[in-house]
Assembly symmetry: D2
């Protein structure tokens, strides 16, 4: 059994990690920490866990966490980078669900997250945890930076086209829509039901923190510089991301559908839909799957890719567990075969 | 492995049965029938099942279904009663998720469902599949009538009070609210998102088909005649039932909380919340659980019980699988330990 | 033109007051105050008002407000009672949308609102602003206590029965459901879309602040002591209250439908639906109307009344404007004839 | 007073027309027809109209309609074209909210709507009712083709750029999202609350009927051929369209914000938001307004325009009334000054 700890378990990625890990056959939950809620039973805050998770939130403590084989950080940005080095030194593996180790360039980090990076030296070691791209590196990693939700949906959608070098990498467009859970469980006015409900809007058009992460990833995939316009939107629902991607073909392509099906033929968690399909976010609700459809409207030179994930699962907690499975040599789908809840 | 067939799998109870049975370790799905959709892959209609359920809808046929150990009917009311006798004769066990075998009195059936009953002779044999009440009978049953969604939430809520004979059985009130999935997947105007969304209303106040079922069940539990006012409402959401129950105490009671906790101490799927709690429907979303809280406002003589279930799980498909587990001597919670999806 | 001021206009009752008053033919908006947002244009916070309300939030100041003919308080409980006496002294009429002047007994106020009352001496003068009950007193009032949202729906629903003395006043039950906007625009976790959305629950069963207000009102209407069980619930939607009311008949009644129709025959803002109807909250969305249906299920002795309002209109801002019209001798429906938005 | 008739008033555009016309100071509602519902009071189908619209649905009849000054067609595509010529011959003006007269080329009509056009001869006379483009022609029109909902939001968003010739007209992208009411009030499975709720998807990517309408309009505005990729999506809410538009600048532009503000400076129903804004669909709920924001992310050469409308108001019924006001020489905003409902 893998001894698992969670730092900062009071948010939505925290409760989702608990839902998945509590049902994982190879995991023993050791500790879940929360400075603010220390002493409260986890199931009191999250009643869906009643009778299944008997842990109580504890004060974060290295002694405690160093007993674990792996620690998941479900903390706000900037927390993990202060604690990870000590855990690594004690031989604990770390999977960070925040952004602390996603950007390779500390200058980018400081620009987008507004604080200097606390451990630039280990940035190079951190592996970007998108298994469909970095599986081999993840196997050997001590520290995995779990991708953001938008970046997961967008990178998996563009990957086949960029790898094949079929499109103009300088004029990519990602029009992405996310459920409100992506904003977390903080008490804020703009995510109240009466503010975000029954309405729809774009946000962060001038620049969103996931932009540099996506560009870094796409450049790594395509092996060339990338120009991307990224526009996130807020959906009046809880879970789900839908990315609508636009790219211009630079050469004639016989069969985009076959390209996508072949690229992901051996991936357990990427599902290429039949030609002409439109994936629904509900088809992945609660499941660790990315469903993708590729279109070429009116036979023109613009390709439209539709990519959906559950932002809390394949976009966060599920992908983190997938990374854990890879890091510990388990079958990649262990504990991740939940079927999506529909309706 | 238990060989399972499903008749009428194109509705919401059908897809939910498939979600649960496809993840059940002791089940082999043999056949799923649909007159209207014969020939269509199940996963084409329900994309959440892609890669997990490879069956195709077939024409209903007794030859086919008689190969099964058990057949679930997820058909409209009035269908099962025409086909069940032949299956029983061939030694196939049957669990009917419709209402055909719930009412013991065929006169009541005809009054509330508007058609004569097709097999009155086996009504007596049918066991009402509420495990918390009829577990022993279910073990030996060939034919189980799976309870309705409202009846499950209401009976489990009133049960401890009626068994203990603490309340006036002639003035019970059940104010129940259901998500729209309870109305099924039929194309109708009143359940369109633009009709049922962002609004709330009562319906069927003059008389709802679940009224005689609930009264029959409460009379069986309490051993006396029952007077019940039942008012169902439609919630602007998909899954979940919340029953708010009112009863008048006829004698002083020391500790209602203890009564409820003791009554359900050994039940895997009934969770009595701590005193002062208010269960949320989301705490059982996708899970086979009924969560209950009991209150005595202002210390008066009116008891208020709050009872929540997922109408598609403990209110339908989950309870049907629970009954199957009991009928086949499996651990009652086999394949039913899914943790609710929250948020 | 009536010169109007608003104190505390940054909440949902504030923006709704602005929507109604900006379209009122006899009103000149003079000032809207907010300590926290002083200096911000109102339309920047509430974009629906762009081009229609050009005011900027200002610091509260008596000099400023005393120029008005009437001042609406849309402030948290406990604020108005500190400022009202000075305004009255300057000849300004006041309509308080908070609870400060609703309870006649200052002991009840302290018990339910947790603070001593700041001006007990004027409690007696304050008129409870339910026009269907106190119209004549409102005409002469200097200070009107605008009713709460639940109390409006519940009192209008029970009124005809209590006035006629047809039911047992000691065993009334009000099972009420409210949209989330009733909780206001404060940043809190429990009203986030991800907490209150796609779910349903009861709250405050042990005792809600509207209980003493409703009981006081029903006792005034019926002229006798009242026993009431009041259970509020939170609906996963923004606007709308649905009260389902239960009462036991103490004598035989020929025609409840006629009783309700006659009682409200001359009321512009109470609409009694035809026999057998079920009012929907959407039928009053944005409109200053209470729609009511009365039922007697199975011809028994329990009466079920269904009463719906928009909690922000007839349950708050709309009723406040209705009171203003009465206080200033305008036609009661001036500026209040908006048709509900459906769908 | 303008005598008004409505043909086909049982859908969402029908009830919205009634809501607006019943509150219009210069309108006398004469007749509303429905073959299926003849004899039913309008307010019985749409309870929000109780006490405000006393009409009963009648059989369509030319004698009846020819008494009107103007007739609105809120019928399915293909109905109006069969009845309009006779009405025009009798001197009745017509505003068609369906698509029958939007496309100038009958070949396009047949291709996209699957039926030959019934009166090609008057296609040329029909004026496309987008006031911001065709106001002068609308003043003299006998027959106005009211624009579709998507086309309204997309054309108003691209207009300033195309008029100024600043972008590459061959690579325009419109990523549009609509509330479910755009699909109408028909009983269909895909628009049930349980199918379209709590989920998000694209549809019609291969080709949507609004594509040729938008292209025709943009070509008219820009005076050149246009290449457009149009991807519609279905939002889990009732009202509102949000169009996210992408265009590539072909020359350097000093001030896009000023361009948009100047272009719409004199338009009552187009609101250009301050630089950096993100319009919300709720800010136009129930109002006849299009709110627009223009962005140039990261100072690149891709312009992003955000355009929102209420699909039932500025996208249908409201714009139809705006056209009526223009046709009859009334102030364009007569009866159209409703403030959006927020929250």
């Amino acid at each position: 059994m893998i001894k698992v700890g969670i730092v900062g378990g009071t948010g939505y990625t925290g409760v989702e990690l608990l839902r998945l890990l509590a049902q994982h056959p190879q995991v023993a939950l050791q500790a879940i920490t929360s400075r603010s809620e220390a002493g409260m039973p986890v199931a009191q805050m999250f009643p869906n866990l009643r009778g299944r998770v008997n842990l109580t939130f504890t004060e974060p403590s290295v002694d405690n966490l160093s007993q674990c084989d792996v620690v998941f950080f479900a903390t706000p940005n900037g927390v993990a980078m202060k604690q990870v080095p000590e855990l690594l030194a004690k031989g604990v593996k770390v999977i960070d669900l925040a952004a602390d180790f996603r950007l390779k360039n500390p200058v980018d980090w400081q620009q987008w997250y507004g604080m200097p990076h606390a451990c630039e030296d280990i940035l190079a070691e951190a592996v970007y945890g998108l298994p469909e791209v970095n599986r081999e590196a993840i196997k050997k990693a001590r520290l995995v930076a779990n991708p953001g939700c938008y970046p997961t949906a967008v990178q998996l959608g563009f990957l086949p086209l960029l790898k094949a070098g079929l499109v103009d990498a300088n004029s990519l467009i990602a029009d992405a829509k996310s459920g409100v859970s992506g904003a977390g469980r903080k008490a804020e006015v703009h995510t109240l039901l009466c503010e975000a409900g029954d309405s729809f809007k774009a946000y962060g058009v001038a620049g969103h923190r996931h932009l540099p992460e996506i560009k870094q990833g796409l450049q790594h995939i395509g092996g060339q510089a990338v120009g991307l316009t990224f526009v996130p939107h807020l959906l009046p629902m809880i879970r789900g991301i839908h990315a609508t991607l636009y790219a211009r073909l630079t050469q004639d392509v016989s069969d985009l559908q076959a390209l996508y099906e072949q690229t992901y033929a051996n991936e357990s968690f990427v599902d290429v839909l039949p030609a002409g399909s439109h994936p629904e976010t509900r088809s992945v609700r609660g499941a660790n799957v990315c469903r993708i459809a590729v279109h070429r409207p009116q036979g023109g030179d613009t390709v439209v890719i539709l990519s959906v994930i559950d932002n809390l699962v394949k976009g966060a907690a599920g992908q983190a567990v997938q990374n854990m499975n890879i890091m510990f040599g388990l079958a990649e789908d262990t504990g991740l075969m939940h079927i999506a809840l529909l309706p």
